[in-house]
């Protein structure tokens, strides 16, 4: 017979050991997260909804154009009319904090993985593990380390959202034309210069696709985090499920979808030509054509240049 391997017991022991050895670490993380989420929530919730609705609409207009602006306006007005504005902003705060931290961890890790084969080999199974582990399993250690409330929700969300940031960053850098990297090296660029001036700019569309995925995963996780008592739309949905309240469950779910579409379309614009940059480009060309000997055949640049995935 094959003896039972007490893997689960070991993990449990490890968590106990960590709690006994470095409790201050978890307290510190907890405090920082709490401050970040509370602060951002305050900023989003305090002013009357119309202020942020105008801001979101303008941002959508600048980055993506009139159609997303129109969608943004209508979607958030609907959220207000459903009386879910405060919950939606709480969820947005949670998503933004988690996504920023997940990106701050994921992108550098992806860069490292692209440059060092050993890192890539070591990181890949960990990412597989993180992406396929059932969502609820994240919640257990999070509760052990950080109790209940918003912080374990954010931490679980961060862990859940990191993988696409790492993967798409690594992929993006690996896909940069080898000859262009060679050219930078051939003219004496240092490894750091090659990274900053060639690899990162050329991998940007892919990295931004990763950031977009990070945000979407974070949003899908925060609802689950509602189980831990994190405020926001997650709490609304969880309450509706436990009370079998179809009406408020539908409304909470709809608000999540509206927020998701807004964030996806907005961040999908990163790295692509935005309405703003198209405008700047056009101006640049007009200026050139007005100059005497300028390239008369300048023609419009192909807009489809930067599309990754």
């Amino acid at each position: 017979m094959i003896p039972h391997l007490p893997l689960g017991q070991w993990v449990s022991d490890l968590i106990d050991w960590l709690l006994d050895t470095v409790p201050w670490l978890f307290d510190a993380i907890s405090a920082v997260m709490q401050v970040l989420v509370d602060g951002l929530t305050d900023v989003l919730v305090s002013p009357p909804p119309v202020v942020w609705i105008v801001v979101f609409t303008v941002v959508a207009l600048v980055l993506r154009g009139p159609w997303l602006a129109l969608y943004t306006l209508l979607a958030f007005l609907l959220v207000v009319s459903l009386e879910l504005w405060a919950e939606t902003m709480q969820t947005l705060a949670l998503v933004l904090v988690a996504a920023v931290i997940a990106t701050a961890i994921g992108v550098p890790l992806g860069i490292l993985a692209a440059r060092r084969r050993a890192v890539s080999v070591a990181v890949r199974p960990v990412l597989d593990f993180m992406q396929t582990t059932p969502v609820f399993v994240y919640l257990i250690p999070a509760v052990f380390f950080f109790g209940v409330g918003v912080v374990p929700g954010v931490v679980a969300t961060i862990l859940f959202a990191i993988p696409p940031g790492v993967r798409l960053t690594e992929l993006g850098i690996r896909q940069v034309d080898r000859e262009v990297v060679e050219a930078a090296q051939a003219f004496g660029a240092r490894p750091g210069q090659v990274l900053r001036e060639v690899q990162l700019p050329l991998a940007l569309p892919s990295i931004m696709a990763g950031v977009n995925q990070v945000i979407m995963l974070a949003l899908s996780m925060v609802v689950t985090a509602g189980l831990l008592g994190a405020a926001g739309l997650g709490a609304v949905v969880v309450r509706a499920v436990t009370q079998l309240d179809v009406a408020s469950g539908f409304e909470g779910g709809l608000a999540v979808v509206l927020l998701a579409i807004f964030l996806d379309r907005l961040t999908g614009a990163f790295g692509q030509r935005t309405a703003l940059s198209r405008l700047l480009h056009l101006r640049r060309q007009t200026e050139r054509q007005q100059r005497p000997a300028g390239g008369a055949e300048a023609g419009l640049a192909s807009p489809g240049r930067l599309t990754a995935r």
Binding site: A183, A184, A186, G188
Partner: protein
Amino acid sequence: MAPPVLRVSGLTKVFGTREQEALRLAGEGLGRDEIHRRTGSTLAVHDVSFTVERGELFVVMGLSGSGKSTLVRLLNRLIEPSAGTVEVEGRDLRALDDAALRTVRNEKISMVFQHFALLPHRTVRENAAYALKVRGAGAAEQRERADWALETVGLLERADARPDELSGGMRQRVGLARALAADSEVLLMDEPFSALDPLIRRDMQDLLERLQAELTKTIVFITHDLNEAMRLGDRILMLKDGRTVQLGTGPEIISAPADDYVADFTSDVDRTRVLTAGDLLREPRMTARLGDGCGDVLRALGAAEANGVHVLDGDGRIAGVARDDLLARALQEGRTAIGPRELVADHATIAADRPVVEFVHLVGRHVVPLGVVDTEGRLLGVVPRAAVLDALSAVPVRGRRP
């Protein structure tokens, strides 16, 4: 004499893990396939040696898989050599640490790439200034050098464009400008024109020839096109399976291919553009001088079964042609020495450096063979029609590639 700008000796590259074993087998003369079968490693370049003098355009010619792209990257250590040395102006590149190597790459060796390898998010001017930016030069100097280089390649007016707004030929001009702006002595060109349309390629070859006449860089030019190699190269190194097959000038390679592989290539070359009058010229069977006896010359013509002869003046310049019928009439009319009245202008001349394509229509048109002359008009030799036909028809039938 000054040392060569670039000296390469015993340069070897093995890709794979069992490098030492592969090197040993290569030293025993085993082929690339056999080495790969035994070690799993690939012998990309083996024991290549050559020197390039200042101002020389040195061509490395080979098919894909011959190791030429690896070879050119060994020259600036973009790929680390397995064995051998590369010396630039007497300095061994392999002895340099990373920082010193970067300085050499930045200041001494520039590279032009097959697919241009421009930064798509930078303007043409910023691309051209790249080496200076890496060097840490000031904005004014960057702009000045970049603009000079762009003007040299005829692209200054597009300095504010992005690479994706330019055609392929224009992009490679930017690639060339980037290399020129660095002001380095050595230019490595990795199949720079292979990705271009034939007409654009011709333009770029013209541009390179013009630049080389003005700037006289030391160039290592990689190509798989022997016509291009013959046209541009002062000397050509033929590479096959990572090894040197032949090293020589274009006409040397055409007229005496080292083996079937080279002969194969040369069969496809347009010989009329490679071979020059100088390559084909020979001693004239006979010449006459002003004042020679008409009777003597006529008898000599009869013995040589010729109908005319070049007549030279005291300095060796061609005064004209003496024809047998005119010589006979002169004798009948009592003139014994060749004078101006016996001469006709029934001949043509060509300079020694002109290719066959420029004089093929002149051979066989006159009673005397085509005269090859120096800049003073002195007769260096002649090119009979048979010599041209012989040179152009010397195609090894067996060697033709499918």
